[in-house]
Symmetry: C2
Subunit: 334 residues, 2 copies
Amino acid sequence: MKVRVNLMNHENTPEEMIEVLRKAPRVALFSHVSPDGDCIGSMLAMGLALEKMGKEVSFYNPNPVPSYLSFLPGSSRIRQELPSPQPKILLFVDCTDLGRVNMSRSEISRDSIVLNLDHHISNLFFGDFNWVDAHASAVGEVALTLINQLGVEIDLDMATNLYTAIVTDSGCFEYSNTTAQTHRLTADLLDKGVDLSNIHHNIFDQKPLARIKLLQCALNGLEILADGQLAIMTLSAEDFRKSGAEQDLSEGLVNHARSIVGVEVAVLLKEVGPQEIKGGLRSNLWLNVNEIAAQFGGGGHQRAAGCTLRIPMAEAKQIITTAVEEALRIGRNH
Amino acid sequence: MKVRVNLMNHENTPEEMIEVLRKAPRVALFSHVSPDGDCIGSMLAMGLALEKMGKEVSFYNPNPVPSYLSFLPGSSRIRQELPSPQPKILLFVDCTDLGRVNMSRSEISRDSIVLNLDHHISNLFFGDFNWVDAHASAVGEVALTLINQLGVEIDLDMATNLYTAIVTDSGCFEYSNTTAQTHRLTADLLDKGVDLSNIHHNIFDQKPLARIKLLQCALNGLEILADGQLAIMTLSAEDFRKSGAEQDLSEGLVNHARSIVGVEVAVLLKEVGPQEIKGGLRSNLWLNVNEIAAQFGGGGHQRAAGCTLRIPMAEAKQIITTAVEEALRIGRNH
């Protein structure tokens, strides 16, 4: 059984952060660029809870809230302008460092108190008070724990935000960061009556048509190699153009190749510029794709890695295929 | 908050089923045709628990275990022959009636005791003792509760089986049958150390290549109509032939169309024979596709329905499109 650790910096404890929040009349909340369900949902739930305690709150994100998250209660209150005047208490949610909100310490008043609520192991402990639980699947878990400790009763709006946070970052409870605690906290949220169908429809069923067209292009170019162990797909600049899709819409498409029976390694090669190919590599059970990506100056994790190749697509496909086939051959002989 | 109800027949209580199981030296377990993760996982977990209590158990399913479930601990012990001699205690798991195991009451010894463990509201209470919890997302929830009440400590093998059961029938905790209790029971299983990556890989990442090819065909024929509210896909007999796919491999493909932003109704038309078109209809938020299917002699539910049309594909596509457009038009004007 995993031990859950709250990583705090040396000088303070969760109780001190709770104490700061209890006393604060005004709190400004911040969440990171390219916002997702976890940072937005957790920030909103925290803010709504603080508001229930009688505090004045404001919400900031450098980017507009993506339309698929606009159903979240309170989302229309999120601003792209920094709060002015700046309140004394600033609470950063799901941010490893101030760069994640496009801010530097110089933009923060000298007498401000910075609170840092996060779940990334890479967190830089930039706050005056830091609550970083690297064992939490989502910062939503940490926010829910904090709200409980503040003694605020979770209402349906907070529960909807927190459920969205957890379901987003735990990959619908599938990713290996999901723990027994994730499910126990989620159970408490379901007790509040969250509307599963509505949330899942909003989060998972709002795919732009351009993404489906991109999937179509990717599947039309799918090749199965290395005795069925390698599935490789390519997307040309022309594919993006005719689909009307931006680069980021291709995210996750590689999983269609990865989920084919017998496949150990899946690769998606994207032409992002003239003679500029971005490769995304995934493996299922044993192959270390980080090592393959590293051969081409890239990196990542054992099961998910990427690299950029400054050569034409056909050549990129050839050398990645050769590298994967070689790794599979060596692996098999071990 | 939902009240959880155990639907028992008038003559007995869960305690009586527990008492029967406690006393039984031998138990034969049964699960239904076209087995899935819930019936196989729950049957195996129940059997392993009874074995831990010192009982002799046997496992029966009319069909071979699908290869994607062969990782389940104990699955190799499941037989396609009825146990002989037949033990006195017969435990049916996830079966609404004996027809689900291709059996009739005449095949059961007169002095046998039939136990019926299920979660379908349509259960026929065919057992001498029946434990049917229609509020459980999976019969795995009922099995876990029963094992707990039998006082058997859940081990990793049972937990792996039960997690697979629950994740299968709750649609990865997405379907609206998922409750707070589903998550609480799942948390207890994660405490036993189940390997999420391995289970999810086995259940969800074992798609036959033929299915991906079928998806490719379906996407190549995707049309968006009715101002973006209708997404329709077709699969010809030729598509199935060249993909090497059986009819049942197309199951769920309609969801790719349903998940496009703005789409309210998604339709997949399959040519299953000469002039024989099967239509699958799904809606997202409000349209009653059951009513549309009913116009063509079909039926189902408000958000998922089907029908069969004995006309050529082009004609079928035309009349279904017209019917959906009409329903959308009427709905919009309400």
